[in-house]
Amino acid sequence: MQKSDYRNMWVYIEHDGVTAAPVGLELCCELRKLCDTTGDRLYAVILGELPDAEVEKVKECGIDGLIFVSGTGYEYFSTDAYANAFTVLSRKYKPSAIFVGGTVNGRDFAPRFAVQLETGCTSDAMELEYDPETGDIQFIEPAVGGKIMAVITVPVLRPQVGTIRPGTFKYAPTGKKAEIEVIREEIGFDPAAIRCRHIDFIPDETDPELDIANADCIVCVGNGLKDSEHLERYRSLAKLLGGKLGCTRPLYDRGILPYKLQIGQSGVMVKTKLYISFGVSGAVNHTAGVDAEVFVAVDKNPNAQIFNYCDYGIVGDMDEVCDEMIDQLKARKS
C-alpha cells in the first residue's frame, strides 16, 4: 500500500431523513482546519435521502465536495448496508481518512468497515493533529481513565478511520465554498441481506430532570459520594440554585445515577452558567465535557486535579460544604 495514493478526508453525515445530527457538522468544521494544513480536500458523505435545507447546512461547514449515496438499504440504519457503502466507496476513491460521529450507531458500524478494509481504527480522539513527516493524523485522546493522553496513529494502512464523540469539536461553520464538487453513487444493498433489521423505535419519554445539556446550573457529584443515602442534599442544592443534578462516570458505574446524567466525553457534554462539582477528581474525560462560565470545585483532596479546572475551589468534606451552601442560600433568600 502506498500511503500517497490515498488523498482527501471524509466525514459521514449521520441523519434520520429529516435533520443532520450535529456531530457530522462539528466534524466538518474541525476537519476543514486539518485539511487546510494537509492540503487534502474535505468531503461529506450522505447515505440515503436528506432534505436540501439540511444539505445546505453541511455545505456551510467549508466542505470541498459531497458524496451522495443512493440505492436500497438506507431507510433505517443497519450495520450491514452502511459498512458496505463505506467499503465500496473507499475502495473506489481511496480517501486518506474517514471520520464518523461516535454515536451509538456510528460506533456500531465504523469499526466494522475498518475490518472490511483491513485498516486501523481509533475512537474518542479529543484533538487531531497532522505530522507532515509521516503524513499521518495524530489522534490524541485520554487513556487509562484520563490519567494520560495518548497519541495514536495509523502508520502504514489507509484509510485512517476515527470515531469522534458528539460535542468534542465546536460547530463553527466557516461558510460555503464557491465550488462544491458533487459525486453521486448508487450502491444498492439488498434489504433481504440485512442481517439485523429495524422493527420499531420507541422514543424515550422526556424527563426534564434527565435533560441537563443546557441547564443554567449543574451540581455534579463524583466518586467522593459515600453512598446513595448521601445524594439527596445535592439534589436539594441543585433545586435551590434553579439547576439540575449531574454525575461523573463512577456514579453511573456504581448504579447510583442514570447514564443520562453522566457528564463527560462518554456521556453528556454540558454548557452551563454555573457548575459546582463535589467529590470529583477531575479526570480529563470528565472535564472535557464541561463548558461553564463559572466553575466551582469542592473536594477533600487539596491536590485533586479538579482544582486546575475551577474558578473557585474549596477543600473540605463535600457533604458538610453542601449542607452549608444550602443553609446560607436559604438564609439569603428569606
Binding site: 450495520t79 450491514d80 454515536t103 451509538v104 460506533r107 458500524f109 465504523a110 469499526p111 466494522r112 475498518a114 475490518v115 472490511q116 483491513e118 485498516t119 486501523g120 481504527c121 475512537s123 474518542d124 487509562v144 490519567k147 494520560i148 493522553m149 495518548a150 497519541v151 495514536i152 496513529t153 495509523v154 502508520p155 494502512l157 442481517r195 439485523c196 429495524h198 422493527i199 420499531d200 423505535f201 420507541i202 422514543p203 424515550d204 462518554s266 452558567k273 454555573l274 480529563v284 462560565e293 463559572v294 466553575f295 466551582v296 482544582f307 486546575n308 479546572y309 475551577c310 473557585y312 475551589g313 474549596i314 477543600v315 473540605g316 460544604v321 452549608e324 451552601m325 446560607q328 439569603r332
Partner: protein, 264 residues
Amino acid sequence: MLKILVCVKQIPDIDLVRMDPETGNLIRTGVPTLTNPLDLNALEAAVQVKERYGGEITLITMGPPMAESTLREGLAVGGDRAVLITGRPFGGADTLSTSYAIVKAADMEGSFDLIFCGKESQDGATGQMASQLAERFDAAQISCCCSIDGIADGKIRATRTLETGREIVEATLPCLITVEKENFYGRLPNLKAYLEAKTAAITTYTENDIDGLDPEKIGVPGSGTIVPKIYPPELPEPGRMIRTGSPKTDVSELLKLLAEKDAI
C-alpha cells in the same frame, strides 16, 4: 442447543496504573488485575439465554497466562468451557489484530450461534472490539442491547438503547451482542461452582496451536494503529482557592464571589 461464546478480558486496575515520569511508560508491575466489569454483564446475558433456551457457554480470552483467573471467574458463574489464547507474539495488539486472533482461535472450537461481548474495556476503552469481531465472524450484530426478547427459528429479537429511545431489532444467527449493564447485573457464584471452576480444564492455544494463523496478522505486525507517544494531560493553572479556616466562612466567601459574578 445454542452454542454461545462470551469474550472476556483481564485488565489492570486503572485507578492504580501510574505513568513513569522519566520514561513515559505505564507502570503496571504489581498492579492488581480484575475482569473487565462490562464483560461480566455480557456473561450474565449469556447465562440468562442459556437458562431460558438451553445452550453451552464457551469463554474466550487473550492475554498472559495469569488471565486464566478471569476465565475461572467466568466458569464459576455459568461458563461451561474456557479458552485462553496466550503467547508473546500476540502481545501489543490493537483491536484489528486482537479480533483476528480471537476469531481464529474460536474457529478451532467450531461455530457459534451467539457471541456476547462487553460494550468496551475499562483500560483500552475503544469500544471497537465487538463490531470487529462480528465482522470477522461474519455475524449480525446487535450493539447496546438492553433486553433479549426472544430466540426462535434461527432469529433473535432484541431491544437496543439509542440516544433518544429504544430500537427493536430482529437479527439472524449467528449474531454478536453487546449489552447494556442495566438488565444484566452479574451474579455471585455458589460455593460448589466456585470450587469446581478452580480446577476445571482450560484449553490453551499458543501461536503454534491455531490452524491457519497468519503471524503477520497478530500482535504488533497485525495492528493497524500504534501509540507512538503518551504524556500527562496539560493542566490549566489552578483556580482561586478559598481558605478562610472553616466551611461556614468558606461558603459565605464563595457565595459572595458568585453573587458578584451574577452566577447566583
